[in-house]
Amino acid sequence: MRFFGFRGGVHPPENKLQTENMPVEKLAAPKMLYISLLQHIGSPLDPIVAIGDKVLKGQKIADSQAFLTSPIHSPVSGTVKKIEEHVFPLMGRIKTIMIENDGEETWAELPKIENWEKADKKDLLAMIREKGIVGIGGASFPTHVKLNPPADVKIDTLLLNGAECEPYLNSDNRLMLEHPETIIEGIKIIKKVLGVETAIIGIEENKPEAIASMKKAAEGTGIEIAPLKTKYPQGGEKQLIKAVLDREVPSGKLPSAVGVVVQNTGTAAAIYEGLVKGTPLIEKIVTVSGKAIANPKNIKIAIGTPFSYILDKCGINRDAMDKLVMGGPMMGMAQFSEEAPVIKGTSGLLALTKEETNPYKPKACIGCGKCIGACPMLLEPIMFARLAAFEQWEEIGKYNLMDCIECGSCAYICPSNRPLTEAIKIGKSKLRAMKK
């Protein structure tokens, strides 16, 4: 399998050793679950249960007629206590259904499609939506929409993202080691839905056992494994497509423009679990790490579990914690409250100390150009920071700001610690507002 690589990128310290050999530990759900009503890219959902209702495990509790939505299910059996605004890990507060766990773990009726080979593509997509499956990689795009490109778009390759390029994280890694067959079965289902022959799983070389595990599980299926040189952000879908297939997604377009659909390996497994076993997306594998955690581990935890519960179970040292990050350290969200709950996009929870965050008072830009060398989209971050400082939003658009994938490589490598990601995010919102 040829490897083409991609230009740019950085090499932050991996910090995966702490959890890469720890098998996923199932953590019991807490007493109260907080189900946020927006756990996907798209519009928020409406609750379909009321306060006082009894709910069963796996029962749908929120849905919407809007196109870009994915329903949410209760991860436990219990009673709906409140439906009101609550802390949300993607900033601010959002309407949340609060369920009191009765500890019984009583399942709802779970429809499934065991014979998916015989099923219609339409029915498979409908079931994928019904099970609340969104991209497990973190962006949480509704999967049934991604796997249903417009009729005039020709797809020839399915790429599976097993790169897990963010430091600290091991959730995809452990899934590939412990349940590779669920991923392979899920890939087969996706292949049928998309109508493609070629499926390739990209895995970074820092996970040699995962590569071996997936190779073994894929024997005889025609699914290829492509080892990738370890470099951040190899897991960015455009970088993945470039590295494995040597195709460059044109500026402003989607991977479907070059005939490719990318899915996280965890999403494939979730599709298998949802369709064949009937289990909707109600649990996540999360890597809990960072030096402020005494017992870093990989856990399987119910969606809606507050971060504080998880931190206490893993031996958090709150005095040592400088930042609490959901996700990886390069693109994750710093949390303002431990009460924020796990959502479908949570793959990591990091309690980072000052030693790891390495704060440094920003100095003037010295024009070293290291940001330009680091950018995987080959942009000029140096200009983003300078133009944003002078609020030159029209000019900033000319530097292809909208192509930025917000990977953070530029800000990571800057010796002066310039506020690059801030400049980029503000610049993008200004450009979007200007377009309207």
Binding site: G252, P329, K363, C368, G369, P415
Partner: protein
């Protein structure tokens, strides 16, 4: 409500590189050249460099106070400017000129533009250009082992044999390479400067293509124009300029293609001034001229973006 945790945009980790580390790396790389300077020119070299460093630090302190900026005189950049300024003047230049030149380097070469990162011209060379315009005789009075004389470049310019130049006995090229020759304080030893340059390349602070292209271009062009290419690259401030001045991040292009154009332009200008122009030495003026063109170079050498759609394809 529990206390609010520390927020901030991603990334939440960063490299261990800092501005200070970059500056001090360059300072360390100049130690070999400094040691050669003391060996060849005596204790006076140490005094001149120390006076320059001190003057630069004090000037930056005063400017930052007046401008209301945070005091950052020990971030390494003022010290570096002091060292580089002292390296491009003759060792016997009057100390008062050294002090004034240092003040000009910092105040007019850097602070008046806004401080670190904002200047267009290489500060040490701005200081040198000022001294050259104000005291042209003092800046071209060289000596070696107590006796005054002309530098190798001077002698080559006038078409005279190298025996008349300030050069220790023995193989002329070896002496020029090692640094036992007349010239400015820190520019004589190509060997010591090369050692420092390799250190900087190894540390990732400079791109190897820049100095290689500059030196290579000067070699080829001076040869083509009838000069002694080996003596040309070993004398004058060429190695100093190629490894330490042209590579200054603030005043050189930040795009990869831009750096190459900058290097080629420098090689061309240096060769032209030395072979055809009025001065025997052209490195300082060439760098200052190219510094001025850098914003233009940056604008026209933007890297090709990922997935860039050509305008006629849209």
């Amino acid at each position: 409500m529990t206390n609010i945790l520390k927020m901030g945009p991603s990334p939440h980790i960063r490299t261990s590189e800092t501005v200070e580390k970059v500056m001090y790396d360059v300072i360390i790389s100049l130690i070999p050249a400094f040691l050669v300077a003391v060996y060849v020119f005596g204790i006076r070299a140490f005094i001149v460099t120390s006076v320059a460093i001190l003057s630069c630090i004090v000037t930056e302190f005063v400017c930052q106070k007046v401008m209301g900026q945070d005091i950052s005189v020990f971030d390494g950049s003022a010290i570096l400017t002091g060292i580089l300024f002292s390296f491009v003047i003759p060792v016997n230049m009057a100390l008062i000129y050294v002090i004034i030149g240092s003040i000009v380097s910092i105040a007019l070469g850097k602070m008046v533009f806004g401080g670190l990162g904002h200047n267009i011209f290489n500060p040490a060379l701005v200081g040198r250009a000022f001294v050259q315009a104000s005291w042209p005789v003092a800046i071209t009075t060289f000596s070696l082992d107590g006796k005054a004389g002309a530098t190798v470049l001077d002698v080559m310019k006038r078409g005279l044999p190298l025996d008349g130049a300030l050069l220790e006995g023995g193989n002329q090229y070896v002496q020029a390479f090692v640094g036992r020759m007349g010239g400015c304080l820190g520019e004589t030893s190509a060997l010591a400067l090369l050692i420092g340059g390799i250190y900087l390349i190894y540390r990732g602070q400079i791109d190897w293509k820049m100095p290689t292209l500059i030196i290579g271009t000067v070699f080829v062009l001076t040869w083509a124009m009838g000069g002694d290419p080996v003596m040309h690259i070993l004398s004058g401030g060429l190695f100093l300029g190629a490894f330490y001045m042209a590579t200054d991040m603030v005043t050189s292009p930040y795009t990869p293609k831009g750096k190459i154009i900058f290097a080629l332009g420098l090689g061309l200008l240096i060769s032209l001034i030395r072979m055809k122009g009025g001065y025997p030495e052209g490195v300082a003026y060439s760098i200052l001229i190219m510094n001025g063109i850098v914003p233009l170079i940056n604008r026209y050498t933007a890297p090709k973006k990922f997935g860039e759609v050509k305008s006629n394809e849209k």
